[in-house]
């Protein structure tokens, strides 16, 4: 261990070991195209024991200082995040899965097994909570601010008499006012859309996590004002999606986007426990 040359054990998720899952994983590649395997712990004698979905990763790339550096390298981060995500999604397509946070790394398989044993009851509880549920993301975007020209739908009464005769200053102010009103209308729509989504969620979803709105380079020019994740029972998923699609049609000036199905990333931790995540550390 002191040489630091042995590969480390990277854990993607918690799942239950079944023959079907084993077959599925046999065709799967993880980070650095490494084969993905299931680790179970000897004392779990149930027919479908809890297992870590793991692969081996090179020590050089995943030791503490390397990780620290890598986490600020967006290209590296993207490739590992996508690999992590693909493994998680593949398992989620087959059965209930608890996704682990990226870069959960153990010295070796034995240490990972030990950790699995220590937290088996927590995992079992969370698995039960998300069983037969799927996460969906719902976002509301506002269009980018209107261009300087008054939009085609602008009230003619305001624009018409002013346009030919008004002084440049007055015309400018009037244009600004039209812009401002359009903006107000969009915000109002967004607000009503959010209320509609709340009502939809109340009917179909069993959990909601509110993410921070995304902004900037990876999101495009539109302003993201709502970024929610919902936990939806599988038998309600179709209706939930249809209802959200319907809402998207009802509010033409804003964009409502639904993403997913996702593995239950946002619901893997119960809200209360998320503030005390290191407690497993203290266990012997």
């Amino acid at each position: 261990m002191s040489t630091g040359r042995e590969p480390l054990t990277y854990v993607y998720a918690v799942a239950r070991r079944t023959d079907r899952l084993a077959v599925l994983l046999a065709g799967l590649r993880g980070i650095d195209r490494a084969p993905v395997t299931l680790l179970t712990e000897a004392s779990d004698s149930s027919p479908a024991p809890l297992a870590f979905v793991t692969s081996h990763v090179p020590h050089e790339a995943f030791n503490e200082s390397a990780l620290r550096a890598h986490f600020e390298d967006l290209e590296w981060l993207e490739s590992v995040a996508r690999a992590h995500h693909e493994v998680v999604q593949a398992v989620a397509a087959e059965q209930t899965v608890l996704p682990l946070r990226m870069a959960t790394v153990y010295q070796d398989d034995d240490r990972a097994r030990q950790a699995l044993g220590e937290q088996r009851s927590t995992f079992a509880r969370r698995m039960a909570a998300v069983d037969a549920h799927t996460e969906y993301g719902v976002k509301i975007y506002l269009p980018p601010p209107a261009p300087a020209e008054p939009p085609a739908g602008a009230p003619a009464a305001e624009a018409d008499p002013a346009a030919p005769t008004a002084s440049p200053g007055k015309a400018y102010l009037q244009r600004r006012r039209v812009q401002h009103r359009a903006r107000e209308r969009t915000y109002e729509q967004a607000q009503r859309a959010a209320a509609t989504l709340d009502a939809i969620a109340a009917r179909y979803a069993v959990g909601r996590v509110r993410h921070a709105p995304q902004s900037g380079a990876l999101t495009g020019p539109q302003e993201n004002v709502l970024n929610d994740a919902y936990l939806v029972p599988d038998e309600e998923a179709r209706d939930f999606r249809a209802a959200v699609a319907q809402a998207a049609g009802d509010f033409p000036e804003i964009r409502i986007e639904i993403t997913g199905p996702w593995a239950p990333y946002s619901f893997a931790m119960p809200p209360a426990e998320s503030s005390a995540p290191t407690e497993g550390e203290r266990a012997p």
Binding site: L8, V14, E64, L67, A69, F71, E72, D73, L74, E75, L77, E78, A81, R82, H84, H85, E86, Q89, A90, A92, A93, L98, P99, L100, R101, M102, A103, T104, V105, Y106, Q107, R111, A115, Q119, G137, V209, H211, A212, Q214, S215, G216, A217, L218, T219, G220, A229, R241, A245, E257, I258, T259, P261, Y265, S266, A268, M269, P277, T278, G280, E281
Partner: protein, 137 residues
């Protein structure tokens, strides 16, 4: 940096009947949000502890969020971080300046080396003589 996926906008209807479609069509922002921030947290042997992850996520958020906005707020650490910025080396002019300084430094050192055998005191006397000559009197 990765381009935003162009086909994200119309993704919903076509993917509706196919559960767990290929994740390559998911936006990087969504994946990072979930994979980094969320997921069950268990302490690994080698780990970025929770606080670190949060700090890193904040940094990343700024990075993948609007760089311009971050700069407005005076957050521009990545510009000076060699591992993050190709620009940390500065403009061509700055580079040339740095190169010239290095050359000058090397020449000075060479000169000092040549003088080394010829006694340190001589050198000192020489340089003090120079300054004396330059001093306006």
């Amino acid at each position: 940096m990765t381009e935003p996926l162009p086909d994200r906008f119309g993704a919903f209807p076509s993917r509706a009947p196919m559960p767990y479609g290929s994740s390559s069509s998911s936006s990087l922002a969504d994946i990072l949000e979930r994979v980094l921030d969320k997921g069950i947290v268990i302490a690994g042997d080698i780990r970025i502890n929770l606080l670190d992850i949060e700090l890193l996520t904040i940094k990343l958020r700024i990075l993948i969020a609007s760089v311009d906005k971050a700069k407005e707020m005076g957050i521009d650490w990545w510009e000076h971080d060699p591992s993050l910025s190709s620009r940390h080396t500065g403009s061509p002019l700055e580079q040339e300046n740095r190169r010239l300084r290095a050359e000058l430094e090397a020449l000075r050192r060479d000169r000092a080396d040549e003088q080394e055998p010829a006694e340190r005191t001589a050198e000192r006397r020489d340089s003090s003589g120079t300054t004396a000559r330059e001093r306006p009197q």
